[in-house]
């Protein structure tokens, strides 16, 4: 177990814990306005200070963690569930019409920058957390498809796959039994990157007003609210930003740690 695995697991579970605890307890009601106490810097009463309505920032950060995790997790799930099978199929039937169709379809989704998809979706369906999930999730599909295909293509050239073919296994079985286990580590690493990118994308979408709508707290909108005030109340911008960084950093360290832990080749090389 490496240090990054332990630190990553610690940070990730800290954020997860904050999100779970917020369902039953927060220091203050996250939506309660208290104008006389507005814009207070962090103190013993308000650990993360208060915002321009006097709301407790610590409580808002806790509840905001829920929004971020839910949106990013579902978006990664969509991407993996659809992207990995597509990538495996494309690699197994390399150069066929299926490969061509999948890869050109991927190009097409890739060609829409994720934020532009989100903007299009919001223009049609309206802003909200569900539409943010769809927008981020759609963009995850080609990421997983392409990375799976790319890794699988080079595996298909290797001798142990040739051996499996000679022994009479079909393409689907080879993909499931030999290709998938060998790209799994890559997918774990990519999965954590996409998870953290999902957290970042959700924050970005809420920042421009396309994510979860009020009164649901979200870290991105807290930053947007801070935009006009952070020159005289920097904690308004600092704290939601640090929350995002801790979450994303934790997930990335966790992914890296898991990769090193799972990949025997790396362990041998280090020993």
């Amino acid at each position: 177990m490496s240090r990054s695995l332990i630190l990553g697991a610690f940070l990730s579970s800290l954020v997860l814990l904050a999100a779970l605890v917020s369902f039953v307890w927060t220091p203050y009601d996250y939506a309660a306005l208290n104008i006389p106490d507005k814009l207070q810097p962090p103190s013993a009463q308000h650990w993360f200070g208060t915002d321009h309505f006097g709301r407790d920032m610590f409580s808002m950060i806790m509840v905001g963690a829920r929004t971020s995790i839910a949106v990013a997790l579902v978006a990664v799930g969509i991407g993996m569930a659809l992207g990995v099978p597509l990538g495996l199929a494309a690699a197994a039937r390399k150069g066929s019409w299926l490969d061509e169709l999948i890869m050109r379809g991927n190009d097409l989704v890739f060609a829409f920058p994720s934020l532009v998809i989100a903007i299009l979706i919001t223009a049609v369906l309206g802003a909200g957390a569900i539409n943010a999930i769809i927008a981020i999730g759609i963009f995850n599909i080609p990421v997983f498809a392409r990375i799976t295909r790319g890794a699988a293509l080079s595996l298909w050239e290797s001798e142990f796959i040739l051996a499996a073919r000679v022994s009479g296994k079909g393409a689907a079985r080879i993909s499931a039994e030999h290709i998938l286990p060998n790209v799994a580590n890559l997918l774990i690493v990519q999965g954590t990157i996409q998870f953290s990118l999902g957290i970042l994308a959700e924050a970005g979408l809420s920042y421009v007003g396309l994510g979860a709508q009020p009164p649901t707290p979200s870290w991105g909108r807290m930053l947007a609210d801070a935009q006009t005030m952070f020159s005289f109340a920097p904690h308004l911008a600092l704290i939601p930003g640090l929350a995002i960084i801790v979450t994303v950093l934790g997930l990335n360290l966790l992914g890296d740690g898991l990769r090193d832990w799972l990949d025997p080749r790396i362990r041998v090389a280090r020993a």
């Binding site: 060609a111 920058p113 920042y207 935009q227 911008a237 995002i244 979450t247």
Partner: protein, 315 residues
């Protein structure tokens, strides 16, 4: 190589055609009639009819699609519903902000990431590598618009080296323009550079474990020669994909960064157009972004084939 390029060119054209249909269809689903939006709820039916005719909304949807596409092919993006100016003119004005910003950020990101990634890979496991990896972990975790706010706080509000927002325009000189794009470009580039440096490092490490690297050392090349002549060149393939992807990420990312810095780029144009239901502008800007990204992907594929000849015969 020529055959491969031709084949990719054909699929480029198909991709663009499909993309244009998808964008047009999505926009068509959007509720709201631009004419009644512009004239308000009390408008007379004959006034609405006249405006629809003027905007080219009175023909069938298929006809409108072909008018839109054939217009774009000759550089005519239609007329903005709200500003009554040619969309191509509006886009051209904004493009002079967004495109230099994205390219500036891409150049910064690549210029930082290549040496950093190669340095880290060459010193794998040593303190230099660990420092770089720690710094890039942090870089990936930072949201670029938050980083942008911090840059404004430090370099614009406290140190007053840069303006907190706005764009000076290029007519006051190239360096003045570059100066006002510097904070936004750094904000966009650093998180991307962190990703790219990690990709460069891990890709190079994969290559360094290959048999041909040992062969290169065995035939008498020094570590440095083997690294540059056989390592870096082969490690470039995954790195090229990421650079291609980053271009679209930077273009999209600039939409958010433009909001932080109040830059008059494509991003602000799109947001303004959406709130004004100026659909022809949304349609055309999105199509232009998609065109840019598809074209970059096409060029990346060609670069792939040039770097790795094996890929040509296979596809």
């Amino acid at each position: 190589m020529l055959r491969y390029a031709l084949k990719r060119l054909i699929s480029l054209v198909i991709s663009l055609a499909v993309a244009s249909v998808v964008i047009f269809a999505v926009i068509e689903v959007a509720p709201g009639d631009p004419a009644s939006f512009m004239l308000g709820v009390n408008a007379q039916e004959d006034t609405l009819e006249a405006l629809r005719a003027e905007l080219g909304l009175d023909v069938s949807k298929v006809q409108r699609y072909f008018n839109w596409v054939s217009g774009m092919l000759v550089g005519d993006f239609g007329t903005s519903y709200t500003y009554r100016t040619p969309v191509s003119q509006m886009i051209a004005d904004r493009l002079w902000v967004s495109l230099p910003l994205a390219l500036y950020a891409l150049a910064l990101s690549t210029a930082i990431a290549f040496p950093v990634g190669i340095y880290a890979a060459a010193r794998r496991g040593k303190p230099g590598d660990l420092t770089v990896m720690g710094a890039t972990q942090l870089g990936i975790a930072v949201p670029n618009f938050w980083f942008a706010m911090m840059l404004v706080l430090i370099f614009a509000i406290n140190l007053r080296w840069f303006n907190a927002g706005g764009f000076s325009g290029w007519d006051k000189g190239f360096w003045t323009g570059i100066h006002s794009l510097t904070l936004p470009a750094i904000a966009l580039a650093l998180p991307q550079a962190a990703i790219l440096a990690r990709v460069m490092r891990s890709s190079l490490l994969d290559i360094l474990g290959e048999d041909f690297m040992r062969t290169a050392r065995a035939k008498g090349l020094s570590r440095r020669q083997a690294l540059w002549q056989h390592g870096v060149r082969n490690a470039l393939i995954p790195v090229l994909t990421i650079i291609g992807l980053q271009f679209s990420f930077l273009l999209a990312g600039s939409i958010i960064i433009e909001q932080v810095f109040y830059l008059p780029g494509l991003g602000r144009l799109v947001f303004q157009a959406i709130s004004a239901r100026d659909l022809i502008v949304v349609e055309s800007v999105v199509m232009l972004l998609v065109f840019a990204v598809i074209t970059v992907n096409f060029l990346v594929d060609l670069a792939y084939a040039a770097v790795d000849p094996r890929l040509r015969s296979r596809t």
